[in-house]
């Protein structure tokens, strides 16, 4: 009898069907991963298990935990189950902790609820233990620390500490690393895995990224549209995938870059020389966000700028876009010194990360896409503009009919296409892609990347592709700049970087970034439970 056994679970919210007879089980010490894109219902599955669902949820089917049917329990009984049997880790570490309570208090509260009647001292010890186990030793992180003092990764550790402090049989982790940097992500995943092994818990790991879970999961469940379409584990699971969707997902995850001929001797169209940007923080403190960064882009060349959050890459991009002034260095666009001139702006355009935030909700696609015409000295007549917009829309894979729609009528992927159309409309030389695909589901991301590489070939334009994720960049760029703490630590051809990274940071990034190919490779050899970096404290 497994630890958790979900039998034909159906869920609908306000009558809308979310889950359709879901069956899954988790053994003690086993890591079960649910993978699927947005709206596949993977989070709702976990929500149904711990029974934290939005209003109007209606669940049928049976959920067995430790041989007791928790699906039919009263809310009151459920509270005790949550307190002692199930622990949960959420996606948003930044907001998952009460900002006005110390981490100690929040962990101790959990313990009090799981085991009432412990003496204050015992509770305290247990809390310290839990925090130490997740890598927050009391010496450096006293119980009286407030959440806002901690980084995202550390907060996530606190959340995990809260979960394990209750000694749960089952641990549910809902996208626990999606909001975190690659290196942190790896650490958190390993931490979870380690804890599962140590306490012999069952772990139900939810993620949108096959590659992420492939390394840690014993058993993988692929969901789509509220149904489980494929599940399995162990050797050869990937080799004999049945369902088209899962195949595609797999392909997307492991796809190798099709080589692209890199031209030489092209004239440089963007050059950054010793750029320096400082931020005033507090009275006298200075933060150097960008530190003497220099690089150049030649026509048609695609450059990747990779670094973790806070490394200064977005600041750098804002400087290049002329959205921020900078203290030192120069930027040359088409050999001319650039600080905000309109006529130079037209050579460079941008696609932002957030497909929701990057359009004025009150403007039609037509108006949005034609906004950059403002840069031109001789602005096209309305009908011309419309014409151009139409063909651009078609070019990026939308239809002419879309021109009069409003952004909210489109999906995330389509929006990015619109954004690309807007970026191309004044046919610039460089497009700055700021995390342009990070917010998208794996398959969609893949499509957008395809589109981008196609366009760069057709129009012979260059990209400056800014991302936190090496794998994304890998498939579209010719050269990569690795950025850390405001400086570029390594620069080189993409292939070389991936083949033999020289800088340790680059190495760690590569190790950390989840790569399904490694798993496959590993599988062919005898599978080892050994983790690349065990010592995560």
């Amino acid at each position: 009898m497994p630890l958790l056994d979900v039998q034909n679970l159906n869920l609908s919210i306000h009558g809308v069907e979310i889950l359709r007879d879901v069956n899954l089980s988790v053994e003690r010490g086993q890591v079960v991963a649910i993978v699927g894109e947005s709206g596949s219902g993977k989070s709702m599955t976990s929500g149904a298990v711990i029974r934290l669902l939005p209003e109007g949820a209606d669940v049928t089917g049976s959920i067995w935990l430790n041989d007791q049917e928790i699906g039919s329990m009263s809310e009151k009984e459920m509270c005790t189950v949550r307190a002692s049997d199930i622990g949960m880790v959420f996606q948003e570490p930044m907001s998952a902790l009460n900002p006005v309570e110390t981490i100690g208090a929040q962990v101790m509260e959990a313990i009090n609820f799981s085991e009432p009647g412990l003496s204050r001292g015992e509770v305290r010890q247990r809390a310290e233990l839990a925090l130490t186990r997740v890598g927050l030793p009391v010496e450096r992180f006293p119980l009286t620390t407030y959440p806002h003092k901690l980084s995202g990764g550390q907060r996530q550790r606190v959340v995990i500490a809260i979960a394990i402090s209750q000694k749960p049989a089952l641990l549910i982790a809902d996208e626990p690393t999606t909001a975190l940097d690659v290196t942190t992500q790896a650490k958190i995943l390993n931490l979870l895995k380690k804890l599962v092994d140590q306490d012999n818990m069952g772990l139900l790991l939810i993620s949108h990224d096959l590659a992420v879970v492939a390394e840690v999961a014993d058993h993988i469940i692929i969901m789509k549209d509220g149904r489980i379409i494929e599940q399995g584990g162990g050797k050869g699971f990937f080799d004999n995938l049945q369902h088209e969707y899962s195949k595609a997902l797999f392909a997307a995850a492991r796809k190798q870059r099709e080589e692209k001929f890199i031209k030489d001797g092209e004239d440089t169209i963007l050059e950054v020389k010793k750029l320096r940007k400082d931020y005033q923080i507090g009275r006298k403190k200075m933060l150097r966000a960008v530190n003497d960064v220099s690089f150049s882009i030649r026509k048609g060349e695609n450059i990747g700028l990779v670094g973790e959050s806070g490394c200064g890459k977005s600041t750098l991009s804002r400087c290049i876009l002329g959205l921020e002034d900078f203290q030192g260095g120069e930027i040359y666009i088409a050999e001319k010194k650039f600080n905000g001139e309109k006529r130079l702006r037209r050579h460079i355009s941008v696609v932002f990360q957030d497909p929701y935030g990057s359009f004025n909700p009150r403007h039609t696609v037509g108006r949005l896409v034609s906004e950059p015409f403002y840069l031109l000295d001789d602005q096209p007549r309305p009908d011309q503009a419309r014409e151009q917009v139409c063909e651009m829309l078609v070019r990026v894979g939308l239809t002419e009919a879309d021109i009069d729609k409003y952004p909210h009528e489109f999906s995330g992927g389509q929006r990015q296409r619109i954004a690309i159309a807007r970026a191309l409309i004044t046919n610039p030389d460089v497009i700055l892609l700021d995390e342009a695909t990070s917010a998208l589901d794996v398959l969609i991301r893949d499509q957008i990347l395809k589109l981008l590489s196609r366009l760069s070939r057709e129009l012979d334009i260059s990209y400056l592709f800014i991302s936190h994720d090496l794998t994304t960049v890998k498939n579209i760029t010719d050269r990569i700049l690795v950025m850390k703490d405001g400086t570029i630590v390594e620069e080189g051809r993409t292939i070389d970087i991936f083949a033999r990274p020289t800088h340790p940071y680059t190495k760690s990034l590569l190790d950390a970034s989840p790569d399904i190919n490694k798993v496959i490779a590993a599988e062919t050899v005898d599978r080892t439970r050994e983790n690349p970096n065990e010592n995560i404290f």
Partner: protein, 286 residues
């Protein structure tokens, strides 16, 4: 889309009063400037729905005109507030976004200064300086509406300035004023509308208070506040004189507030966002 109930009720009440006010421009049951001492203190009856006052005036007619005056004063006052407050707020936000923190600071401190003054008291002072009357009541109330809108606009604008579509517009080389009016104003319009209705209702109470202390609309023009004041001593033998105008004010303000809430439910992007967030939470990973 289905309109929320509070909006419907509010809208109905408000329209009723607006219609009464407009109607009073062309017609009232009785002439309120003609005093007929002979038929004073008539309890509500067929001829005089809300009775007559100590000068024999028809209370219903007075309510109609009083409502009109209240609406007029409040509208203009709020208008003033928006006219000055909104551009101020937009400017402050734009300034802050373009490194002009000092300008922003000064403007906002100025706001705080106005806020720091006890509003009713200042209104009384102002009317004491320039003499009582509708115009000065308007000015007095209007001044205190400016910072309200300035703050609200600035807050909303600051929120938007960090949005990516604003950056996109800036990448297109658009100036901050252009952006303010092309991108920001339309996107905060709804919260401003909501606030306007709220301020409107507040203004009506303020006008009532001012004319209650005799500083609002002047006789022979009827005003709800002064009607209440005059009714005070007669409340013991002619209660309707106090209940009717009071009720009128309450229903008027109630209507506006309900409508404001309704509008917020319909328009407020913050709320919509939260709804969206809940939705996503319920059927998506993020």
């Amino acid at each position: 889309m289905k309109l929320p109930l509070n909006f419907i009720i509010g809208a109905i009440l408000t329209t009723i009063f607006l219609c009464m006010a407009l109607l009073s421009l062309v017609w009232t049951p009785y002439d309120v400037t003609a005093l007929e001492i002979a038929d004073k203190f008539q309890a509500p009856n067929i001829d005089h729905w809300f009775g007559t006052d100590h000068f024999g005036r028809d209370v219903f007619s007075m309510i109609m005109i009083g409502a009109r005056n209240a609406v007029m004063v409040s509208l203009v006052a709020v208008g003033i507030g928006m006219l000055f407050g909104v551009p101020l707020g937009l400017y402050a936000a734009a300034a802050r976004m373009n490194g002009g923190n000092l300008i922003d600071e000064i403007l906002m401190r100025g706001n705080d200064l106005i806020f720091a003054f006890p509003s009713l008291l200042m209104a009384i002072m102002i009317t004491a300086v320039f003499g009582p009357g509708a115009i000065n009541a308007i000015i007095a109330i209007g001044i205190f509406n400016i910072p309200v809108f300035a703050r609200m606009t600035r807050g909303g604008a600051l929120g938007l300035w960090s949005r990516e579509y604003i950056m996109a517009a800036r990448v297109c080389g658009k100036g901050s004023m252009r952006i303010s009016f092309e991108h920001i104003l339309p996107n905060i319009a709804n919260i401003l509308i909501v606030q306007a209705t709220i301020q409107f209702s507040i203004a009506i109470i303020a006008e009532a208070s001012l004319s209650y202390v005799g500083l609002g609309t002047q006789p022979p023009d009827p005003s709800l506040g002064r009607m209440l004041n005059e009714a005070q001593t007669m409340i013991f033998f002619a209660p309707w004189l106090a209940f009717v105008p009071g009720g009128a004010i309450v229903t008027m303000v109630l209507g506006l507030n309900l409508m404001g809430d309704g509008l917020r439910d319909i328009l407020d992007p913050k709320l919509r966002q939260r709804k969206a967030r809940e939705m996503e939470a319920s059927n998506a990973a993020s």
